[in-house]
Structure formats: C-alpha cells, structure tokens
C-alpha cells in the first residue's frame, strides 16, 4: 500500500466525500467523524509520501497504468509533497474547528457542506499532486465550484461575493485552459514534463505562441490567486462566507495557485524562459511591490476583521509572487517556504476570526474588546499567528520573510525588500491595533455603566475545545515550522537547486 501513498492523499478525502454524501443526509452525526477520518488518512499518506520523496527522490504514480504522456500521472517531488502535506494538515485542522461552527452556520445542510468541503480539499490536493496540465484545470474547477458553494452558503452578501468569485474564477480558469491549449497546439502534449521536453526539443522558446501561453497561464493563475489588480473577488468572499469556509479557503486557495505558478515556471516553461528570456522579472516584482503596498494599505482601512485578513492574504500573495519572480534561488526557496508558513498563519488568524464570530456574532474589530481576560488561550493562539504574519521571530513568518528578503537583497531588488518591510510594519500596526483592543477593552467594563447583555453574562467565554484545539495546534505548528525551518528549507532547496536559477540571471 505504500506504493499507493501519493494517490491515497487525495483519494481518501474523495472517497469519504462520496460516502458522506450517501450516508450523511440521514445521519448527521456521521459527518464529522467521516471528514476527520478522510483527512487524517490524507495527512498520514502525505507524511509517508514526503518521507518517500526524501528517501527516493521524485515519485511517479501512473493512473490507469499508462505511462505519460499517454495517461495521467502524479509526479511528487519535494515541492509537491510539502505543499500537499500543508494542504491536508490545514484541511484537517479546519475540519476539527468546524465541528461546532458548521452546524451553527449552515443549519440543515451539514452533510452537503462537508461533502463540498472534502471535495474542495480533494481538488486542492489534486492540483498540487498532478503532473498533467489539463488535469490541473479540471481540479482547479472542482476546487473552484466547491468554493463558490461553500462561500455562497454564507450570509446574504456572501452570495453576491460568490457570484463575483464565480465570474472572476471562471475567467482565470479559462485563461489557464487557453494557455494550456496554446501549449498543446505547439507541443502536442499535455504532460507537464513532456511539454517541457517538447519545448526544448523543438526549440520553441522564441515562439510567440509559447509566450502568449505563458502570459495566459500567468494571468489566469494570478486571477485565481488574487494578485493585486485582479483581486476583486477575494475580500468579500472570505468576509461573508461561513467561518469554516474562510478558514479553509483563505489559507489554501491562493497558496495552491502560487504553487501552480511556481510549477508552471519551473517545470513547464523552465526558469530560463521565464526569467532570462522574457526579462520580466523587474516588471512583475514591481507589480508585486504595488500589490503588497496597496493590499496592506487597504487592510488598514478595514473595520471588519475578516476583511482585513482577506486583504492581508492579498498582500501575502504579493510577497510570494514577488519572491518567485526575483529570479533568485533564495527568493524561490523563500516563496515556497512562505507558501507553507503562510498557509498555517492565515489558518491561525482565520480560525481566530471564526471563533470570534461564533462567540460574539460580530465581524468588526470592536467585537474583540477585552478578550485577553475572557479568552486567554484563544488570544495566545492568535498572538502567535499575528506575530508570524508580522514576522517576529521565532515564528514561521519571520523565517519566510528572512528568506524572501535574502532573495531580494541577493538579486538586488531593494524595492521588494522595502515593500516587504513596509508591509510587515503595516501588519504590525494592524495586529497591534487588535491586540490593543483586546488588551485594553477589559478595564472600562468595570467602571462604566454600559449594560450590555454580554457583560451581564460575563461576555464571551473561552472557546470550546474543538475550536481551540486546532487554533493552538496551528500556533504550535507555526513555531515548529519556524524552529525547524532548516529541515523544511533543506527539502525545498534540494528541489529548487536542480533548476539552477541562480545561474540564470548572471
């Protein structure tokens, strides 16, 4: 069964999603255990796969027994395995969180919600693992369709946000598909590695078709990852959807799309093409600088916690896109590391936001008054996430920033470094604003004569175990990933070094 581990990563949630759809309608209590089982198997398989990748190098898995390019294969290398592990872990943690949130927010549609949830995770895992460019599109659509529904199940405005997401998402996915078509028309292949081989064999790097394909795929993926000027769908989607949805999609969707971008640049088009031949690195890095700054500043203007976090995600996307396009090995390593780190730190803050929303029913920042005294453990979890987003050692966020800045400096993109730092500072302002509210809110409650109902009941109390547990685990993971960043980076460097990016720019 060990040989099957890459497939099991995504087949486990898939199978259980179907079982859940069949069994869960009548028996609602069955939903949660099934979800957890599926994701736990997935996490275990991811771990096994990662071990295998470290031991054996790249793992191939041929669906249907057909060798590529004839069949579809999973091709797992260091990059895949890590991102898959991150995705499945985040999904598992969010699932644990969802135990109470889902029945509360989607009253009579629990089994449907969980089915979509698992399928969404399946889609994301599939995107990460597959070695086939077209299969990637199908899986993008699966994760997108499930996202639309998962968001649309939220409040009134969530539906509108989901609609917008649908339109933008379809444009993005279609651009991607078109890009694959442009590749196909020139190479005749769909397997990522085979496309690369064909491009090299036929010397297609100068072809305008390949160039347009590259642009299309990049723009498509940028739309899906909400890269700054194309981000319009994201903030409302993650604000008004159910909290579990935000906690699942917020950390994962954008990261997975960044993975796709990296995969496309490294594996399909080759870094020589993307960085050297096109020489766009400056433009894209500048774009990401603008993205980081604009998103951070927009985040400052928000009064709703979720929305603020949504803009932070957009800023983080800027980090990673910029990091990739620094055309520097360290930048690439930093971006990949940041994918993993950011998945967990966004998860952390979104879980926090979800807890606050379930506890107080409010989304604005003032909902958090005095939480340090009322919900100390929750706040501790949040603090770790916030520190990580700000980039305070020894959380994972610090180290990802470390590598990114290192890449920025060694490639001479000081504007990127500056943007990164400014955004860190803005994050600091954002989070300390929250911390301040949570810290200072407690005292006035004693003296002033406001008779809120909350205060009569003593206000919100510590979140339930099922909500708190994932938050604290995430916080611990953030610290763990931070402290053991060497090990993670070693895997990434192993992967990245084969592309020899550093040599290209010189």
């Amino acid at each position: 069964m060990i040989d099957q581990s890459p497939a099991i990563i995504l087949l486990a949630p898939f199978l259980l999603a179907i079982l859940l759809a069949l069994l869960g309608i009548k028996r609602e209590w069955l939903c949660f255990p099934l979800v957890i089982t599926g994701l736990a198997i997935s996490v275990a398989a991811s771990v096994i796969t990662l071990m295998r990748v470290i031991d054996e190098g790249t793992i191939q898995y041929f669906f249907g027994g057909w060798e590529p390019p004839f069949g579809i294969n999973l091709r797992v290398d260091g990059l895949n395995a890590l991102v898959a592990l991150a995705v499945s872990t985040v999904a598992l943690l969010t699932a644990i969180y969802s135990k109470r949130a889902v029945p509360a927010e989607t009253s009579d549609k629990v089994s449907q919600y969980y089915t979509l949830y698992l399928l969404s995770v399946t889609g994301l895992l599939g995107i990460v693992l597959t070695g086939d460019a077209f299969n990637l599109y199908v899986l993008i659509e699966i994760s997108a369709l499930t996202s639309y529904a998962l968001i649309g199940m939220g409040s009134k405005r969530a539906t509108l946000a989901a609609y917008k997401y649908l339109i933008m998402g379809t444009i993005g996915a279609s651009f991607y598909l078109l890009g694959v078509g442009y590749l196909y028309i020139k190479t005749g292949s769909l397997n990522m590695y085979d496309i690369q081989e064909q491009i090299v064999a036929n010397n297609l790097h100068g072809s305008p078709t390949i160039l347009v394909a590259f642009i299309l795929i990049m723009v498509g993926v940028w739309i899906k990852m909400a890269f700054f000027p194309l981000h319009a769908w994201l903030p409302n989607s993650y604000t008004f959807g159910p909290s579990t949805t935000s906690a699942l999609l917020g950390p994962l969707v954008t990261k997975v799309m960044i993975y796709v971008m990296i995969r496309m640049i490294l594996t399909v088009f080759s870094p020589e093409f993307a960085f050297d031949q096109l020489d766009w690195s400056n433009i894209v890095v500048w774009m990401s600088v603008i993205a980081i700054l604009a998103a951070s500043i927009s985040a400052l203007a928000q009064t709703s916690l979720q929305k603020m976090l949504a803009f932070l995600i957009i800023a983080e996307v800027g980090y990673m896109v910029g990091g990739v396009w620094l055309a520097d090995e360290m930048g690439m390593v930093g971006s990949i590391y940041h994918i993993i780190a950011d998945a967990f730190m966004t998860l952390c803050v979104f879980l926090f936001a979800g807890i606050i929303f379930t506890k107080t029913g409010r989304r604005d920042l003032s909902a958090m008054e005095g939480l340090f005294t009322k919900m100390p453990l929750t706040m501790v979890g949040f603090l770790v996430g916030a520190f990580s987003l700000i980039g305070i050692p020894p959380t994972a966020g610090f180290f990802s920033k470390w590598y990114l800045i290192q890449g920025g400096i060694s490639s001479g993109h000081y504007e990127y470094v500056a943007a990164l730092l400014i955004s860190s500072l803005i994050n600091a302002v954002l989070f300390f604003r929250i911390i301040e509210i949570a810290y200072f809110g407690a005292k006035p409650a004693e003296g002033h004569g406001h008779h809120h109902e909350e205060e009569h009941n003593g206000g919100p109390t510590e979140a339930s175990f099922s909500m708190l547990f994932p938050l604290l685990i995430t916080a611990a993971l953030l610290l763990g990933i931070g402290l053991y960043n060497q090990e993670v980076v070693a895997i990434i460097t192993d992967f990245v070094s084969q592309f020899n990016i550093g040599a290209i720019i010189l």
Binding site: F387, K401, I405, F432
Partner: protein
C-alpha cells in the same frame, strides 16, 4: 589567543527567568509564593552570571551553540567581557528592581500583578539573551523578544494614556527593528554568507563597499532604536506612563541598555573599530549622538514631570555611550562600556526615587516637590547620589566612566566633541541638581521653616526604600572599586588592540 569554553551556563542564565514564568503564572493566586519564585529566579540568574565571571576575567570566553536555525546561522550564546559586564548589571539590578516592584505594586495595589511579574521575567530573560548573544541573529531574536515582552509592562495601566504611550513605544521599536535592523541583518548575511559571529575585529571588512558600510552603520544605529538616538527617541518619554519599576527597568536595566549594548556590539563586534577607523564613517554617528546629547539635555531642562525629565536625561546619557563607541579610541570605548553600568546604577536610583515619591505622596511634578526632602530624607539622599552619578561627579561611579569618555575623546582628537561633553555635563547638572536642592531647601519659606524630624517623615514602604538605598550605595561603591568593570571592558578593548 583567548581560549573558549563550551558551557550551558549562559543559556541557563537566560532561560532561568523564562522558566520562572511557569511558577509565576501558576502561583498567581498566592502573591507571596509568586514573588518568592521571582526572587528565586533572580538570585539564580545572578548566581549563574557571577559564576561565569572568573572565567571571563581570566580571559576566556564561554560559548554554546543551541540550534542552527537558518543555514549557517545558529542561535548561539557567547559570553565575553562586554556581555559579562552587561549581564552582570542586568542580573544584579533585577534583584533590586524585583524587590522594588513588589513594594511599588503592593503599595499602589495595582491590578494584574501576575501578568506584570510574568512579563518582567520574560524581559529579563531577553535582556540576558541579548547580553550573551554570540551573533547578530541571536541578538536580534532577543531584541525583538524584549520589545514585545515590555509592551504589556508599558501599558500596564490599560488606560488611554497607556494606550498612546504603548502605541508610540511599539511603533518606534518595531518599525525600526523590522524596518532597519532586519534588512541590514539580512544584507550582512547575504554579503558575508557567514554565521555573523561577533568577533573582536569584526567580520564585515572585505565584504562590503564603503558606501554600503555607511548605510549599514546608519541602519544599525537607528535600527536599535532602544538606544533612544534622535530622532527615534520619543518613545522613551512616551513610555513614562508605565509604572515606575517598569521605567526603571526600561531606563536603567533592560531596554535602553539593550539598545546601546547592541550598538556597541555592532561597532565592536560587527564592524570592528579598526575597520570603522579605516572607513572613517563613525564620525557621522558621533555627531548625531552629540546632537542628541545637547538637544535632549535642553529639552530635559524644560520638563516639569520628574519622570519625563529623567527620561530625557536618559536619552542624553545613552548618547554618551554611543558617542564613546563612535569615537573608536580605546579609552572612549572602555568609557562607554563602563558607562552602561554606571549610568544604570545612577539612573535606576533616580527612577526608584521618583517612584517612591509617587507611592508615598502621589506627586509627579517637580514643582510640587518643594520641601519634600524633609519628609522623605532617605529617598532624596539617594536621589542626590544618583544625580551626582549621572552628572559624573564624585563620589559616584559616573565620574569614572565620564573620565574615560573625555580622555577617549582627547585620544581621538575630537576636541569639538570634548566641548560637547563639557556643555552637556553642565546641562546635566542644571536639570538634576535643582530637584534635590528644592526638596531639601524649598523656596517657599513656610516649608523651609518646618523643622526636620525622623518622626514626621513619610517615606514609602520598606520594599521601595531598600532597593533605592542599595543602588545609591552601589553607585558609590562603583566609584571606589570600578576595577573589575574596567577590567571587563578592557578585555574587549585589549583584544582589539
């Protein structure tokens, strides 16, 4: 070649107060036991630091690598003369401050005392961490940790004023550390590719160009904004909203000293004085420091709030240290290292006095303190000693360090800066001495006529008085016996020469 010994002690010294957090939190409901834990940790820490002293004085260093966290870059501890000096100051003063804060907090019946002591302990841990850091990276880690851990202390009152103060505090410290130090740090890492281990001759030479060096130097100097160098000084007066023990901690023991300590480390350990001399860029810093000295002294003169005046005084005094380092001559560097200790002792006395005054009478403003010396003779006596030490007059330790600084300036041939030293000393005297004078010899004839008697004194509780007396005495002792401090400082400079 000084030998190096591998030992876990420096790590333990840093960790002990962090470990103390657990009992402090758990014993939160029982104040006596809780504070017992604090003391225990403080004494253990002090003991650990002192236990390393002989080794250091013997010319060896103690090293320990904990964790290689980023390729080539480890969290590592290394105790050398400068670190030892600072560690000694910090750990010894923690005991005093702990005692004092117990008095202060109980005296004022402050809320959330458990939280207070918790973060106090964490801050100390970070401080010792900074002191014993072996490389820039570790230094930065503990520096950040200190910034964050002191935030709840600064904003302890949780009122509007505390909110503003805390906001300023964090804004300055975090923005400079993230905005300046971090990029500089990574720049250094990228350029040298080394472990950034401090060494007495620096490790930068040969890796960077002169202009890069200048930028780096400025980034580091301004980046460690805890040193209060203008224009990044205004967090310091802002942070005066904190309870006095915290101010004492901030100004004397932990925060600002960490700032200047870091700058000293950058000058001596990262660039190396020789390299700086070659490049001839330190003068820029020296002049900024000089400007800060004069300007802050002038501002201090105008302040009525005692703590604010002391705060501006601190800004000036810190710049002495930076200036001393920037002069790059052996004596000046020695002076600035010693000044860390001297100023710490002096300034902590002053702050504790200010706190004691507040605890006893609730007075904050200098104009209210006419004749107070008669009610609180011990406090004001200590205050005067502290003031003398800060100004640099005998019989206090301040004189020693100032002497070295001035002679150092002469060595360096910077006669213009010499003038600055003199002017500032006069200004120091001008803003500190009148306080004591007014307290004992009030202008108001009615107050002046009041007879002095021990019975009418309204001193603060003994937990407040004891520590400030101790530090006042310490200030005098340091005048008499400054040798080991000088020896420690000399270890650094000597290795340099």
């Amino acid at each position: 070649m000084p030998s190096s010994i591998t030992s876990f002690t420096p790590v333990l010294a840093s960790l002990v107060s962090l470990l103390a957090v657990l009992p402090i939190v758990l014993l939160g409901k029982k104040p006596n036991l809780r504070e017992g834990a604090t003391f225990l940790a403080a004494f253990i820490k002090f003991g650990l630091v002192v236990s390393m002293l002989p080794t250091i004085l013997a010319g060896s260093t103690i090293e320990f690598t904990v964790w290689e966290i980023v390729p080539n870059l480890a969290i590592a501890f290394r105790v050398d003369g400068l670190g030892m000096l600072f560690g000694l100051v910090a750990s010894s003063l923690w005991i005093v401050t702990s005692l004092y804060s117990i008095g202060y907090m109980r005296g004022l019946k402050e809320h959330s005392q458990t939280r207070f002591f918790t973060f106090f302990a964490i801050s100390l841990s970070a401080t010792i961490g900074v002191a014993f850091a072996a490389n820039l990276f570790t230094l930065y880690l503990f520096y950040e940790m200190l910034s964050l851990a002191t935030y709840p202390l600064v904003t302890h009152h949780q009122d509007k004023e505390a909110r503003t103060g805390g906001r300023t505090y964090l804004t300055y410290l975090l923005s400079t550390s993230i905005g300046f130090v971090l990029p500089a740090l990574i720049f250094v890492y990228v350029k040298t590719g080394s472990s950034m281990e401090f060494s007495s001759s620096g490790f930068l030479s040969g890796h960077i160009t002169a202009s890069e060096a200048l930028i780096l130097l400025l980034l580091f100097t301004f980046g460690f904004a805890k040193s209060g160098l203008m224009p990044f000084h205004s967090w310091l007066p802002g942070a005066m909203v904190a309870p006095t023990p915290v101010s004492a901690l901030l100004h004397a023991v932990a925060v600002v000293k960490v700032g200047v300590f870091c700058i000293l480390r950058v000058f001596t350990g990262v660039f190396g004085t020789d390299y700086l001399q070659d490049l001839d860029i330190a003068t820029v810093v020296a002049w900024i420091a000089a400007f800060t000295i004069v300007a802050s002294s002038l501002i201090a003169l105008t302040q009525d709030n005692l703590k604010r005046r002391l705060a501006f005084s601190t800004v000036g005094q810190l710049s002495y240290i930076i200036l001393g380092a920037a002069l790059l001559s052996d004596r000046a560097v020695t002076g600035s290292m010693t000044h860390i200790a001297m100023h710490a002792v002096g300034k902590i006395t002053l702050f504790m006095c200010a706190g004691a005054i507040f605890v006893a009478t609730g007075k904050k403003y200098i104009s209210q303190m006419d004749g107070l010396g008669r009610k609180m003779p011990i406090t004001f006596a200590a205050f005067s000693i502290g003031a003398l030490s800060v100004i640099g007059l005998p019989p206090t330790g301040g004189l020693i360090s100032k002497f070295y600084l001035v002679t150092g300036a002469m060595d360096a041939g910077q006669s213009a800066l010499l003038v600055i030293f003199l002017i500032s000393t006069i200004l120091n005297a001008a803003y500190l001495l009148p306080i004591g004078y007014r307290a004992f010899f009030p202008k108001d004839p009615q107050l002046a006529k009041q007879p002095f008697s021990w019975k009418t004194t309204e001193e603060a509780n003994w937990q407040c008085i004891t520590p400030l007396s101790i530090t006042a005495v310490l200030a005098i002792i340091l005048f008499i016996k400054p040798q080991f401090l000088l020896q420690l400082a000399g270890l650094m400079v000597g290795a340099n020469g």
